[in-house]
Symmetry: C2
Amino acid sequence: MALEHAILVSLSERPGSGYELTRRFDKSIGFFWRATHQQIYRVLKRMDDAGWVHVEHVAQDGKPDKKVYTVSAEGAAEISRWLAEPAQPTELRDELAIKLRAAHGDPDAVAAEVARHRAQHAERLALYEAMERRDFPDRDALTGPALHQFLVLRGGIGAERGFVAWCDEVLTALRRDAERGETR
Amino acid sequence: MALEHAILVSLSERPGSGYELTRRFDKSIGFFWRATHQQIYRVLKRMDDAGWVHVEHVAQDGKPDKKVYTVSAEGAAEISRWLAEPAQPTELRDELAIKLRAAHGDPDAVAAEVARHRAQHAERLALYEAMERRDFPDRDALTGPALHQFLVLRGGIGAERGFVAWCDEVLTALRRDAERGETR
DNA sequence: CGTTGCAATGCAACTCGTTGCATAGGTACT
DNA sequence: AGTACCTATGCAACGAGTTGCATTGCAACG
């Protein structure tokens, strides 16, 4: 399972509570691996039992207590082990592709869906590109962790750009197909 | 859930048994939505209970009996309903991206992983491009279902091409970063 | 004649992930 | 004073997906 490792990596960058991790998974890390607070709390507990993290109870004023998690030596060892272990290649899983295959059933509905997805991915792309400009203005100077974060973001930009381009290709082709059908 | 709909779409193209569907999910449809025989058998049963498919027991000689599933009127209606219903945008989920973020722990191991993934995705890309040449030699003449299948394949080609390009970008950047570290 | 492999279906147990709900104090708006 | 939202954690139930195993019969290999 990769969620454990995503959490370990995030905690190794900076210790935090379940709640804080949840918010990190709403952005940055979470752009490439989603998780709800439920999952995170449960996995944190399991990781604590396994000894991969240390917990520290922290009382706060004006806010409920929190549990701050830190990566233990065993946790760090687990990261190393996992880094060297080969992972399965990422598989595509796209509901839109399945809908496209059924497009003869209702071409207009599918075209509308593709247009919707195009808009959503364009929005996501714009967000990533803004992050790129804001957080990594001088890309040639990057090293270490900053470089790695930049490269992950580049992956996201590439994926979203590709998705938008594909939607455009599909929309053009569907439109041309519809016109051809009318004039025949 | 989309597996139900993927199966419905596949059965609407051509009726078949659970076993046959499993093999379809090892290729074509399965390139964009994986499923094991277990999942397929269970979902077929559920779909039968829901009345989305008809079952016909077929005795064969030299082979075990099989159950051939056909999409019912209710099933076809369900496809239409689902086509018009907006789907969630596909989310990225890439373990390699998480590993990259932890790359400072063992840069060489991560670079090796990226190289491995590059090779696997390049292989997948070559397969898709071969299918494109073999099955769709005259892309301007395509209409209807053939066009839709072609467009899905184009999506796969785009995704794999993007992945390979990203791996190359990462490998170049990691190499340059390592060299810079040495000479300093 | 024994093993391997293919065609065909299925059960059981498990992990992973989602959804709904609950609690409890604090802050901020109306 | 009431409502709504934020911080913070968690349980319980469900749905989706994986893994291991089991059965039956035929065909092909050595």
